[in-house]
Amino acid sequence: PLGPQPLQKEHLYQLAMLEAGFHHLPHPSDSERQRHYLPRNPCPTPTHYPQTPPPHSDTVEFFQRLSTETLFFIFYYMEGTKAQYLAAKALKKQSWRFHTKYMMWFQRHEEPKTITDEFEQGTYIYFDYEKWGQRKKEGFTFEYRYLE
């Protein structure tokens, strides 16, 4: 039984300012660190494209099912985000280890020939982000001080 109440002058001013704000709505990227390598570029895609991420796509289990190439892409192109963190976790579960000096991921190709307290030496596969491909490296010394 209350019925409408006439808006006061102040409310009309507020509505006008709200309307103006409505035309410059915040973007999701306004609350995120700058993504230099993969900035958000919202663009309309055909409706039959998936419009929302697959379910549980923010779990380590989901990342573990991704190919190593995809994990490397996420690791290097989504720096500083939860995705990079999950990709790193998934890589570690597949026995990849991050070399903090070369900033590359290494995986033992076979049992190392030498293992000491400071390092191990042998043949490794590593992912070269400059050439964007996996390489084999024989006689490599992985110093543990560079093991993340």
Binding site: L25, P26, P28, S31, E32, R33, H36, Y37, L38, Q51, T52, P53, S57, D58, I74, F75, Y76, M78, E79, G80, T81, K82, A83, Q84, Y85, L86, A88, F98, T100, M103, Y129, E148
Partner: protein
């Protein structure tokens, strides 16, 4: 009659909390992992 609140893009049956992936009051989908700033080890800041 109000709004069907299950159509606002929030998974109200989620066993996880919603706030940690809440994208924005205007977004009808939660944040994706690549949207969430994370305190990763500084060694990961390769760029």
């Amino acid at each position: 009659p109000g709004i069907d609140l299950t159509t606002l893009g929030l998974n109200l049956n989620s066993p996880e909390n919603l706030y940690s992936t809440f994208q924005s009051p205007w977004a009808d989908a939660p944040c994706r992992p690549q949207d969430i700033d994370f305190h990763v080890p500084s060694e990961y800041l390769t760029n």
